[in-house]
């Protein structure tokens, strides 16, 4: 019991919120492209590039927020490149996404070498991290529960506030509605004079904006450094969550919380002396299990259809056999 208390407590939940935030932001960004009918596999690379440029911006300007702005600007540039290739030139979105992922990985490494003359990671150099927001009165109101709402970086609050805002966006605003229509039934959008190209560009840029914040959170949030490949598959996990949530903000939130919890839990397990390599697999195992469980529900339909077609084949054989027995 004591161990369980140590494992699961307020600190763990607060850690869950913290680890959820970046993947939530990038997944919510991907929600725009998913809803607009673009399969954006490039989230991983976009996030990584942004983390890097946020660090650069932070070093050069000495301001964390300018760093975030720098990351977001890089994000928009990447998103624009993606949109030009995918929307205007109709390139295959998976190919472009993969290319951008590879580009981001290689570019950050070579730029790191060129600017800092190091490999591996950027630490120090005067990186300014994001401040933590202490909500006044939280301590008095919630006592030991205060860490649940107070003491996060601004980006964490942005991530969680974005969820209801996106729900509102998709249901009550014209742009949100058009993004859904363009993704679901482009010919309907076309017939009504909605520009598919314009809507997809906007969706790609909105995606870049949120993914940019997510990247900045990685490198300027709780640790102020950049390391090679520091997005460590979060972008891909976001893509998986998007496939299963169809980009619905609430489902995205649920999926990200699950992943965030597993992430935080695995960190906690490490302190109990479990082998760290095994522990690091926990979030991915949990996410895969959840996705498998979700997709398993879709299976009976396929089995049913297969059975039905087999039955049809068998009964046709039987009929022809009968005909053979008693011809006209």
């Amino acid at each position: 019991m004591e161990i369980l208390d140590k494992l699961i407590n307020v600190a763990l939940i607060a850690a869950t919120l913290r680890t959820t935030a970046p993947i939530l932001l990038v997944a919510l960004g991907g929600s725009f492209t998913t809803k607009a009918g673009i399969f954006n596999i490039g989230l991983e690379g976009q996030m990584l590039a942004r983390a890097f440029f946020a660090v650069i911006g932070s070093i050069w300007t000495g301001s964390a927020f300018a760093g975030v702005a720098c990351g977001v600007a890089a994000a928009l540039a990447f998103a624009l490149a993606f949109a030009v290739l995918v929307v205007t030139f109709r390139a295959n979105e998976v190919v472009v996404g993969l290319a951008l992922n590879i580009l981001a990985g290689g570019m950050t490494i070579s730029l790191m070498k060129a600017i800092f003359g190091t490999r591996g990671s950027i630490v120090g150099h005067g990186i300014v991290g994001l401040p933590k927001v202490q909500i006044p009165g939280a301590q008095a109101l919630l006592g030991s529960w205060a860490p649940l709402i107070s003491g996060f970086t601004p980006i964490v609050y942005v991530a969680f506030l974005a969820v209801p805002l996106l729900v509102l966006f998709y249901n009550r605003t014209r742009l949100g509605l058009y993004i859904r229509v363009v993704g679901e039934k482009p010919e309907a959008a076309e017939a009504l004079g909605i520009s598919i190209t314009r809507v997809r560009y906007i969706a790609s840029l909105l995606c870049g904006l949120l993914a940019g914040l997510a990247g900045a959170h990685l490198s300027l949030g709780y640790i102020t450094m950049f390391t090679e490949n520091m997005s460590s598959g979060r972008g891909f996990m976001a893509v998986a969550i998007l496939i299963f949530s169809n980009g619905d903000p609430l489902k995205v939130l649920a999926g990200c919380l699950l992943f965030g919890f597993a992430d935080a839990f695995s960190l906690r397990l490490q302190t109990f002396g479990f082998p760290s390599y095994l522990v690091l697999t926990v979030p991915y195992v949990v996410a895969l299990t959840a996705l498998f469980a979700l997709s398993y529900r879709a299976r009976p339909k396929i089995i049913k259809e297969t059975l039905a077609s087999m039955q049809k084949l068998l009964s046709a054989d039987r009929n022809s056999a009968q005909v053979d027995k008693n011809p006209q």
Partner: protein
């Protein structure tokens, strides 16, 4: 010829006309879809445009709605000369069009779909309540029963059509064009639609409605315009027309009687169809109790206005559609129990009505297309491997034998003209060794020269003792080739006419659903 032919003084003042099209011509390559069509639609009437598939109805309406630009001719809307550059311009001018294929978003509610593109907003946010209320109001006023809050993905096609009509109304249309609106409806839904159309004209709106169903045109329209082969045949008040007059205008008076000489067929019965029933894609009965035989060395024709069950009959006989009742015996085997492949083995050759869908693979070569369906047989297949030399040799012989105009056997079928593609299909099917040939619209979209060649080939097959069922919407084709003509209407075989006295009036009456006198209706 026509009551309001160009040049003759019009009976109504121009302002009373909602739509006036003058001399509309539209060509697609060498094909003339609309040939100098004049059309005047009075305000406040239901104006039906009737004609067979390919008569040019949809092209004309697409021009009116700005989806196509005419090569020649002019458009006046409510008396004003207008260039309808695109659908947006048409909508602005008070036109609305309900297409055959709906464009609704499944995950959105009915009201959201209705107002898509012109949302009601308050403080920048979409006002769902107001949209629902307005949808409700319109739906009540015109008898278009829908629940505005339901998701469209869960609804039937009939209700989807109501939503499309509501979309048009919300955009302020005063003249509403419906393209084959009843094609997707049940009879009950069709009746409700007609009531809605009447409530439109009661409010002073104008309805233009495209159809190839005589019954509903007679029932609901005030005026009928008949199109045939891209030309206008006539515009008349519906009350002055009888159904068989209408049929004659639709299918054409000039039935040419260049009948092919022949000896009377006296072969054995090859195909014996007994009380055959089948449903269409909407699960409604499309073939109702068809019974007939086809003998060796005989051409039996099936006549009828398109969409009266001929397609479904052909699909049942070729195994593409299940029969709901009845039998079809081909040389001792009941086709209704067999798969398409087994039916072909049993002795069917099939020239499908739509050659591009079921006749050929347009991207494959002529050689591959002449092989399809018999790739497992010798000499084309040996030890489970295809012998392409033999296949190409055979294709070359067929290209010569059937006079297919192509560069060679490796030519992709899509590079050929319609007539030559049809010859590829005929070449494959007629050399199949089958005893029964099911031939559906063999000369649709085929030029005159190729038509002659195809007719000659069918007669050669007849002389070789094949049993032939020839389905065609062209009466002259049937009169030239068939030994007997069966007339289908509404899924039933209305009667039979001997080929050598193909009485056009009698066939026309039966095509319009009037039984010959001997059989009570």
């Amino acid at each position: 010829m026509v009551s309001n032919a160009p040049g003759s003084p019009t009976l109504h003042s121009t302002a009373a006309m909602a739509v006036e099209l003058t001399g509309i011509t539209k060509r697609f390559g060498a094909f003339v879809a609309n040939d100098g069509i004049d059309l005047a639609v009075r305000r406040g009437e239901i104006h039906a445009i009737i004609g067979e598939n390919g008569a040019g109805k949809t092209t004309l309406m697409n021009i009116l709605f700005g989806l196509l630009q005419p090569d020649e001719g002019s458009i006046r809307l409510n008396g004003e000369a207008t260039v309808v550059a695109d659908p947006a311009a048409a909508i602005k001018a008070g036109l609305g069009m309900v297409h055959q294929h709906f464009k609704l978003v499944p995950s959105l509610s009915v009201a959201d779909n209705v107002f898509l593109g012109m949302e009601i907003r308050r403080h920048g946010l979409i006002d769902h309540k107001a949209q629902i209320a307005r949808t409700q109001e319109l739906s009540k006023r015109f008898g278009l029963h829908v629940d505005p809050t339901e998701r469209v993905g869960l609804l039937s096609v009939g209700i989807e059509q109501r939503i499309e009509i509501l979309k048009v109304l919300v955009r302020g249309a005063r003249t509403i064009i419906l393209d084959e609106p009843t094609a997707v409806l049940t009879p009950q839904e069709s009746r409700e639609l007609f009531q809605t159309l009447r409530s439109f004209v009661a409010e002073g709106m104008t309805v233009i409605f495209i159809s190839h169903h005589l019954e509903e045109v007679m029932e609901v329209s005030d005026t009928v315009t008949v199109l045939r082969n891209g030309r206008k045949v006539a515009t008349r008040p519906t009350s002055e027309l009888s159904k068989d007059e209408l049929v004659r205008m639709m299918v054409g008076r000039e039935v040419s009687f260049d009948r092919r000489p022949r000896a009377a067929p006296d072969g054995d019965i090859v195909l014996d169809v007994k009380d055959l029933w089948a449903r269409d894609d909407r699960r409604l009965p499309a073939v109702r109790g068809a019974s007939f035989t086809v003998r060796s060395g005989e051409v039996v024709g099936i006549a009828g206005v398109a969409g009266n069950g001929q397609t479904e009959l052909a699909e049942v006989l070729s195994g593409l559609r299940p029969a709901s009742h009845g039998e079809a015996w081909l040389k001792g085997q009941d086709l209704t129990t067999l798969s398409p492949a087994a039916i072909r083995e049993a002795g069917l050759a099939h020239v499908p009505g739509d050659r591009m869908v079921r006749g050929v693979d347009r991207n494959a070569s002529i050689a591959a297309n002449t092989l399809m369906g018999r790739q497992h047989r010798a000499p084309w297949s040996r030890n489970g491997m295809l012998d392409w030399k033999a296949i190409a040799g055979n294709a070359g012989a067929l290209i010569k034998g059937f006079d297919i105009r192509a560069q060679g056997a490796d030519d992709a079928v899509k590079r050929l003209s319609g007539g030559n593609i049809q010859k590829v299909v005929l070449a494959r099917e007629f050399t199949n060794g089958a005893d029964f040939l099911l031939i559906d619209q063999p000369t649709r979209g085929v030029d005159i020269g190729a038509q002659e060649a195809i007719h000659d080939e069918i007669m050669r097959q007849r002389a070789a003792g094949r049993a032939i069922l020839l389905i065609s919407v062209q009466l002259d084709e049937l009169a030239a080739l068939a030994d007997r003509i069966l007339v289908m209407f509404n899924g039933r075989i209305m009667g039979e006419v001997a080929g050598d006295d193909a009485d056009e009036d009698r066939i026309g009456m039966m095509m319009a659903g009037v039984m010959p006198q001997l059989e009570p209706a």
